[in-house]
Assembly symmetry: C2
């Protein structure tokens, strides 16, 4: 084992699919790895919409990073906020004034939703990226029905029971489909003054179809499946304004108490931290080895990186891309530490993409070969069950899913009352 | 069926064990029942400490009241805050100005922790009564370790890793034991800079023993079991002061970033709403039929009621008391509606009481017959599994428990970052 004083320091920022794959890829090396994240967990984001729609609990889709990395002694996990990077002095600045020195840096901080310059809409149209987002959307959805039941005002009931999802990418389609199912099946018989089945669920998309990244045939299937669930589709019109009472879509005003934003994404501000070139969506432009130009010891992977797919197009912001890049970057770093030649340029292997629309409805695209309906849904379910990170989550999710599937019930329909303190948020006392 | 206009209105306030038992007891009657609660769920409070210590998720121990009562068409569920009662005009006042008329009223609003006149301590010493409380305590416990790992200051580390539980009743004993297990087993190998096993867990009690409501032999077993888990016991000294940095116990100052309050309870303000006589702890004094004196159509049950046990002593604040009173009151109301003679006075049947100390350690008191250790723990586990309200919860809890028992792991170790909105709390927008 090398002299500890000379041991190389690798800092990985972000405990998502990319960051976690990078850390795990560096398993047996003699280096000091630090995984920094604003939360203490790895989140299985593809199922986040199920937490938002009360089918799963946060613990079903998230695991403490420390627990996941317990058997990897060369890693330390740090829950902290990154405020900047000094690439000359090789330091990561943390909130609170602490600096973290590195020899290699892997940026895997992901992306956030973009409001295309309309920052004020954020207040009225929540997005779905974190567990906190999911719980907040869940509280909003469930309390809309509770308030409608109680209020006694037909105008307000109509507004409370109008749910608008903006953006018909995979997350928007999942949310719109699941909200329609929640209203039409799960909650259908639970209220006296209102009929949840009369809820309007509207999916708005500026483009001309849902799931634009999929073949047109699958988009058409998705549109039909959504309509059969009772979702109204509004394609080809942009959202022009969102306020506390509704939104303008094209020339139409829709009164709605619940607007969810699933439209464009933008990378988190890592390019600013570095002071390097960024793509149009703010992503850090990286070379074929996932390193930042002129800074061969700084890598960016996943949604925060803009990486050429080999044909001049940027790779899509998908979990498998992030995972494969994380693994790849671990190999590059290992080769460098060992003084071996670097592996060839990164190549993304597309094993297929899937999107789910609702109970028994999904689409899957495996290149030449596509699936829709129940076979696609079954494939989706099996793959996601397999992908879940640890056995415990897998088993609990399986129990919850099976139960929900057979009963149309939702286990996690809980609304809590706030006390003076906020739930699940680390308190700032005792600092 | 009677004329709907003449149908009697029964309002039940509180969806805990008592209120839910009353509502379920009124299943087949021709009346209009309204269940009012500040939350939308029934909470299985005996397992709340497991949510606070990251073993279970909120959805494992709570179920939406609407879902529980779906098959009871004579009940409406209302999520609302009660602000007062007009007993002359038979109205329940709700926040927002709405009034709820009743013919019969059942008060089952439970109790809160009492700070014995030291209201300012509440800020520093959270209590455990609701799901929000449990998530807030969980965030506090887990982030104490995260902050200690990061801070690098030995004094602060010591303070962050000192956990003080005030009050050695069942909840205090459960919490102290489980926090000690969390530090010594679950988190033991997860940190680099700190050793969670060096955490101090202190249980303070003004009385001379733990679990004062149990036979002395069981108190002694509990004390030994707690000590073997590494809990320091401080009995016979009252807490004199609590601030943001620690507390004074007798003449000793303890620096601690985490103080949890599990001491005395006081009834919620129902006696004030009614303007009737209250017991010393604020509970509504009721007669042998659980009705308020001079107001035979108003009942109080569970922790909010002070009910003579037949020998001049008040019944204890236990879930089985509340449940049995709920069932009993339903029978009284049914008899009155049917013009039949009322049942005899309420009699509590004590089937035994239990308290859990940690993994494989518990005490159980069945009157003449007591259990300790693994047999008590097994009995406790089986009984609580059986008591959980619906099949889904039961199965998921079973999976989580088995997994946690075999691995010493904790599934729900999640810390979330706040966004501008608070998680799980119903938003006030769109009102």
């Amino acid at each position: 084992m090398a002299d500890p004083a000379k041991r190389k320091r690798i800092v990985v920022i972000g405990s998502g699919f990319g960051g976690m794959a990078a850390v795990k890829g560096l398993k047996r090396i003699d280096a000091e790895i630090t995984l920094v994240d604003r939360t203490n967990h790895h989140l299985f984001q593809p199922l986040l919409y199920q937490v938002a729609t009360a089918a799963l609990s946060p613990a079903d889709i998230a695991t403490a990073s420390r627990a996941l990395l317990r058997h990897q002694p060369n890693v330390g996990v740090l829950m902290a906020e990154v405020t900047g990077i000094d690439k000359e002095r090789r330091l990561v600045h943390l909130a609170g004034g602490r600096d973290l020195p590195y020899d290699f840096l892997v940026l895997a901080v992901g992306a956030a939703y973009s409001f295309f310059g309309h920052g004020s809409w954020r207040r009225y149209a929540p997005t779905l990226k974190t567990l906190t987002d999911a719980l907040s959307i869940r509280a909003r959805l469930l309390s809309a029905f509770e308030k409608a039941e109680e209020c006694g005002d037909p105008q307000l009931i109509k507004k409370l029971m109008t749910f608008v999802v903006v953006g018909a990418g995979p997350t928007g389609v999942e949310l719109a489909g699941t909200i329609a199912e929640l209203a039409r099946s799960t909650l259908a018989r639970d209220f006296k003054a209102i009929d949840p089945r009369s809820a309007r669920v509207i999916l708005c998309e500026a483009g001309d179809r849902a799931l634009a990244a999929f073949p047109r045939r699958l988009s058409e299937y998705a549109a039909k499946a959504l309509q059969s669930l009772g979702v109204e589709l509004r394609f080809g019109e942009a959202v022009k304004e969102i306020d506390g009472h509704g939104l303008m879509v094209g020339e139409t005003r829709i009164e709605a108490a619940n607007v969810l934003w699933c439209a464009g994404t933008e990378a988190r501000p890592a390019a600013n931290w570095l002071g390097v070139a960024a793509a149009r969506n703010g992503a850090v432009i990286v070379g074929p080895d996932c390193a930042v130009r002129d800074w061969p010891n700084i890598f960016a992977i996943g949604d925060v990186a803009s990486c050429d797919d080999g044909s001049g197009k940027a790779l899509p912001g998908l979990a498998p891309v992030a995972k494969q890049q994380g693994k790849y970057v671990a190999k590059v770093i290992k080769a460098r530490l060992a003084g071996m030649p670097a592996p060839g340029p990164f190549r993304y292997r597309n094993y297929g993409t899937m999107a789910i629309i609702g109970r028994s409805r999904a689409v899957a695209d495996f290149g030449g070969f596509t699936l829709t309906g129940f076979p696609a849904w079954l494939t989706w379910s099996l793959v996601h069950l397999m992908l879940l990170v640890d056995f415990r989550s897998r088993l609990t999710v399986y129990v919850n899913w099976s139960w929900a599937w057979f009963t149309y019930g939702r286990g996690a329909r809980l609304l809590m009352r706030g006390t003076e303190e906020e739930a699940s948020r680390p308190p700032d006392a005792a600092r």
